[in-house]
Amino acid sequence: MSRTLTLETAARRGSLIPLSTRLARALIRGLPLILVAAGWQIAPSVGLISPEALPPLSAVATAWWGLLMDGSLASNGVSSLWEVTAGLGLSIVVGIGAGVLMAWYAPVDAIVSPLMKSLYPMPKSALIPVMILWFGLGAGSKIASIFAGCLLPVVLSSYNGARGVDQSLVWSAMGLGASRRRVLWEVVIPGALPEIMAGIRNALAISFILMVAAEFLVGQNGLGYLISFLGDGGVYDAMFAGVLTVAAFGFFADRVYLLLMQRMLRWRE
């Protein structure tokens, strides 16, 4: 049975299909992206759109290379990466802890969950001004904005995940001799993991929105700052290059996370 299963998955992933066929399929699939890119190159070049409004892709690529070479991509990229990692990382640790405890201890649940549920729809971007008030114009306010914005999605997904863990799993573990604390670590948290990880994926997207928005507003460094600085200065080809970099950054962060998620949740099939 397990052998037929692996065969099927292998076939679905295409490893039994010849390389040339797979290449052709990838090409057909990716063609729309190539068409868009070609349109982007041609339209401003032939004067269909003003190159001021849409610099041709080649100009954007050249500008990107320039940004890479003069080190502005690296230095601003590093500070953006640090903000997202610190803010999101903190919210994951605090959020899982708080969410699981809420689900596990009824009195904590009774006090905290109505608050969480009413604050959850809070438009996260509105937190940025308060954080600037509190932490000034440095990285602190950006990290705090990301932390505060990502916290509730992680808390709520951990809470829902932990509450959704099948009662019979908890009882089975207890019947097999696990203490309540062990059950928390060995049953509740793994059982809640699919939902926790989905919540973190959500938080990852929010962290990028907040990172970029905060960097627009708190201008000193970061990719968001770089984009708006270039835009204000009228260097549009470089601005487009910056926007594409941030977009790609967000895209790949999500893809890498998705791979991690699939790996960690392999048991779900």
Partner: protein, 262 residues
């Protein structure tokens, strides 16, 4: 000694929102050591609740439940439970699931690996040790659940409609396997079911429960004289008389339960 005694057990179910419901009303029942007793009744009669009380998963509010003379206070390893939905840890492989209780016991590594292997063979799952539950069929999952429970050698086996989610053929096979395992290492069993034939086939005695609020309506001796097994037994007059008798009792309750709902 692992005799069980319920005396005057009452239980009220309190949903988070809504009115409390009297689920069990004064249930008294004695189960002998190494006896196989089935709790039979219409759905919603509180038979699973009775099992969870015995398991120590929900606290006894009124009345007393004792095991080997000692009152039940929380879950314990001497009472192993098997659920209808298998309740396997989906993130653990077959082997890891069976190992879980042994690790809790603090059994030495070599010994618990050996024991796990024995159990895998006992329930005919050789070759699937490293599969995840999601890769197994329903019957296989339930065999893993049974092996996991047997691993810690409980004196009492609590079974909550364990074969209810399986198709008829698989269920019949599982019946034979369960009886074979019980012959090899007899245990006290409390088996919840709503399947009359299953109850008569497996149990020494069947306790029929009334519709909500649950009470023990009648206890029927189902230790058959016939030596027949499997298909043959199902044909005997003795078997079918018991089934007919129990079926009438259960049907009356099911009709009552439905009347109460409408």
């Amino acid at each position: 000694m692992a005799g069980i005694s319920f005396s005057e057990v009452r239980h009220t179910y309190r949903p988070p929102r809504g009115k409390p419901v009297l689920a069990l009303e004064s249930v008294s029942l004695d189960v002998q050591d190494r006896e196989f007793v089935a709790l039979l009744g219409p759905s919603g009669c509180g038979k699973s609740t009775l099992l969870y009380l015995l398991g120590g998963f929900i606290p006894v509010e009124s009345g007393a439940i004792t095991v080997g003379g000692k009152p039940v206070n929380g879950p314990g390893r001497e009472r192993g439970i098997v659920f209808q939905n298998f309740a396997l840890f989906p993130w653990k492989t077959v082997r890891q699931n069976i190992l879980y209780g042994l690790e809790k016991q603090g059994m030495a590594k070599v010994e618990r690996e050996k024991r796990t292997q024995d159990l895998v063979e006992l329930v005919h799952l050789k070759g699937f040790e490293d599969s995840y539950p999601s890769q197994l069929s329903g019957g296989m999952k339930q065999r893993v659940a049974i092996a996991r429970t047997l691993a810690v050698e409980p004196e009492i086996l609590l079974m909550d409609e364990p074969f209810g989610a399986l198709d008829a053929q698989t269920r019949a096979l599982m019946h034979e396997e369960l009886l074979a395992i019980m012959r090899r290492a007899p245990k006290t069993v409390v088996f919840v079911t709503h399947d009359v034939r299953e109850a008569v086939y497996l149990a020494d005695r069947v306790a029929v429960m009334s519709a909500r609020p649950g009470r023990i309506k009648e206890i029927v001796d189902t230790k058959l004289k016939s030596n027949a097994r499997g298909e043959e037994l199902l044909q005997t007059r003795e078997f079918n008389d018991r089934v007919d008798h129990l079926w009438k009792l259960v049907r009356d309750e099911a009709i009552r339960a439905q009347g109460a709902h409408e």
